[in-house]
């Protein structure tokens, strides 16, 4: 019986290798844990891209892509590594769409993907640390680094003539990295930062933090945190009369903030990664037709990450980790024919004919630096309890 099993497994493997008609790619996302509410839509979006490619019949001589899902948990690095390990060694994936949260993504990259030589495209890891991490050309992301948002926010404030601010950030990797990026850009533009005060998320009382910020003074208070703690800081600062003008990062964006903070939010300036344009609309239509919630966080980035992996394989002419890793930048950036969501078959055809493509996708993909999205930001101001768009950056 055991021998039979072994034999049949060996047969299955050799069959897969011989005909190469079924290529496996991994979807490594936190299906359990803190972001479990958004990951199903991210995975569906990624698989939507692969289905489009498989159905076209043009992918590597009629091959199809089979997604392999695994749980990154978002917070447990050892669980995420084990999941990635299993994907690569027992399922035999050639590339990974993931992981999601910055911490586990870094762990999987350094401890699993780099030793196995398997490329990863993360749709949602935004920590600035990836920009400076050497990945041997294996790591890419379709979401921008928080460092980029720091620059955008600094220039937005300076344009409005606000050049003297106090900063409060949530005391985790996200907040600290974001604050570093903002402060250095802001000071480079000639602004003054009077104080940098960290706050812990989820406390009940922030009057001590606000007291310190008030003692430092400034024209505005920049809060780089989450809706929960950051919102409380904002409200406390307003109620104690410490500041009247606020600015906030993407972690604070949300309608629940308007509900919990109320009138204090009036006139607040903010930035958030955003998507707009033909590609975004094309993706929304596509997702809607497939019954996927396209407005959920990071769905567009997931679709793009998955599409890039497949297009890179097509460009390489073979579905191998090395081939995919070497071609991601070629298909993502100019020059070449522009490709939108729903248009992937045309991209495959051009690549098969030896041409070049510039994948635009749902998020205006433009990979810069070591291979991360340049980012497209919406600057908004709160008026009458609504987030009103000022312009895009």
């Amino acid at each position: 019986m055991k021998k039979l099993l072994l034999a049949s497994t060996a047969l299955a493997f050799s069959a897969g290798a011989a005909f190469a008609d079924e290529i496996k790619m991994g979807v490594l996302l936190g299906f359990t844990g803190p972001i479990e509410s958004v990951t199903p839509f991210m995975a569906d979006s990624a698989e939507l891209a692969w289905k489009e490619i498989s159905d076209s019949g043009l992918f590597l001589g009629g091959s199809t892509i089979t997604p392999v899902r695994a749980d990154s948990t978002c917070v447990d690095s050892s669980a995420a590594q084990a999941a990635a390990e299993r994907m690569i060694s027992s399922d035999g994936v050639v590339a990974i769409m993931g992981a999601d949260c910055s911490g586990v993504t870094m762990a999987v990259l350094q401890n699993v993907a780099m030793s196995a030589g398997v490329p990863m495209i993360s749709p949602s890891a935004t920590s600035p640390a990836f920009t400076t991490t050497e990945s041997n050309g294996l790591f890419y992301r379709t979401s921008p680094s928080d460092a980029r948002q720091g620059e955008v926010m600094a220039s937005v404030l300076m344009e409005r003539g606000i050049d003297n601010v106090a900063v409060s950030y949530v005391n985790v990797d996200y907040g600290a990295g974001f604050a570093d990026a903002f402060v250095s850009s802001f000071e480079a533009l000639g602004g003054t930062v009077t104080a940098r005060v960290p706050h812990e998320d989820g406390r009940g009382d922030y009057s001590a933090e606000v007291g310190t910020l008030a003692a430092a003074g400034g024209d505005a208070l920049v809060i780089l945190g989450y809706t929960d703690g950051g919102g409380s800081v904002l409200r406390t600062a307003y109620e104690l009369g410490a500041f009247d003008q606020f600015a906030m990062g993407d972690g604070m964006f949300g309608d629940e903030l308007v509900a919990s903070v109320g009138e204090a939010l009036e006139g607040t300036i903010g930035t958030i990664p955003w998507a707009a344009g033909d590609g975004t609309e094309a993706f929304s239509a596509l997702a809607q037709a497939a019954g996927i919630n396209s407005e959920s966080s990071f769905t567009r980035e997931s679709y793009d990450a998955a599409a890039l992996l497949a297009l890179a394989a097509q460009a390489a002419g073979e579905a191998t980790p090395e081939g995919i890793a070497a071609n991601i930048l070629n298909v993502a950036n100019a020059p070449g024919e522009e490709i939108l969501p729903g248009d992937l078959a045309r991209g495959l055809q051009i690549l098969a004919d030896g041409g070049e493509i510039n994948y635009i996708g749902a998020t205006n993909v433009e990979l810069v630096g070591p291979g991360e999205a340049a980012g497209f930001y919406r600057e908004y101001v709160v008026e009458g309890g609504e987030f009103v768009t000022v312009q895009f950056h």
Partner: protein, 336 residues
């Protein structure tokens, strides 16, 4: 005008929040001191029991809100207080029956009681989270401010502003009323006197015919009322989140020990000292000194002794210093 601005600034950012926080701690510390002097153990489940009582009040508040009952401009939660008290006293008496009574019978050592209360703490903690979840619940309604910063500036014409939130004012007033009633109860009523007698000398109290089980029940009942009041005031002021209540355990114990375990006056004084120390040490005094110092001598640094993150370290330091140099506390209480 300058000294006045300094005073307003320090009142707004430090004195008012510290006074409200101290009042909340005082009610909690009173409960700790009562349990310690009568049941003779350190009640570790204090913070989480407080959370459970507050959860009951929140449930009552939401129920009253759906009925449309309100006592505007006061928060509805005040109306739900008796309900929360009933639930919590019931809970405390059940735990006493199931857990502590056995250890009283076998005359267990205080350390065993402490460990038992640690177990009760975990169970209570779980029950609260089961009903309320772990995220923040806000249940404050009614008028939010007595006067806001903007009103105050317009009214006085000062550069600095000051705000007094209704929840802070209610906290301070309620705490004072509760303290007065408690002292009246302990000093003037028969039950209060029997509690004090039992606390002073258990054997003598038994000889003079005091029923120990009755004293225990009264102690839990008073503790329950204090906890629900303290927890509700804290929740109105700062929002309800189970983990924050657990964290209150340290400052409440520090307050009770600093004042002298077993001394109700000590618990109150200790609570205010802990609250003002936490806020004062981590407060940036720059703004105040800028107003007070002559021109040209304004401070350039933040004038802050410790960063805000170290708030809990202040409490810890107080606790360590007291235990090392004066274990009986300010008012000569018992030694832990």
């Amino acid at each position: 005008m300058e000294p006045l601005n300094a005073l307003v600034s320090v009142t707004n950012f430090m004195l008012i929040p510290a006074f409200a926080y101290g009042s909340q701690l005082a009610l909690g510390a009173l409960g700790i001191t009562l349990i310690y002097s009568i049941l003779r153990f350190a009640h570790f489940a204090h913070g989480d029991t407080m959370a459970l009582g507050t959860a009951a009040v929140i449930g009552g508040t939401f129920f009253l809100q759906t009925l449309g009952v309100s006592i505007h401009p006061l928060p509805t939660a005040l109306l739900a207080l008796p309900f929360g008290m009933l639930v919590l006293i019931g809970y405390l008496l059940i735990t006493d029956r199931l857990v502590y009574r056995y250890y009283r019978r076998v005359k267990a050592k205080p350390m065993i009681f402490v460990m038992a209360s640690l177990g009760v703490m975990f169970v209570t903690n779980g029950i609260t989270r089961l009903f309320m979840g772990v995220s923040e619940t806000r249940f404050e309604d009614g008028e939010r401010f007595l006067f806001s910063v903007r009103d105050f500036r317009e009214f006085t014409g000062l550069a600095e502003g000051m705000a007094l939130r209704s929840s802070q004012a209610i906290t301070i007033v309620t705490a004072l009323i509760v303290m007065v009633v408690l002292f009246w109860f302990l000093n003037r009523t028969r039950s209060g006197k029997s509690m004090r007698a039992y606390s002073d000398n258990e054997d003598l109290a038994l000889l003079s015919g005091i029923n120990p089980e009755r004293v225990v029940i009264i102690t839990w009942a008073i503790t329950g009322m204090l906890l629900v009041t303290a927890g509700t005031l804290y929740g109105l002021d700062k929002g309800f989140r189970p983990f924050n209540y657990f964290q209150l355990l340290l400052p409440m114990f520090a307050a009770a020990i600093l004042g002298g375990l077993g001394s109700p006056v000590g618990a109150i004084v200790g609570a205010y000292i802990v609250a003002f120390a936490e806020m004062g040490v981590t407060y940036a005094w720059r703004r105040v000194f800028t107003y007070l110092m002559p021109e040209g001598l304004e401070p350039t640094s933040m004038m802050q002794l410790l960063p805000v993150d170290y708030k809990f370290a202040v409490t810890f330091a107080i606790l360590v210093v007291v235990l090392l140099f004066r274990p009986t506390g300010i008012f000569k209480g018992k030694v832990l």
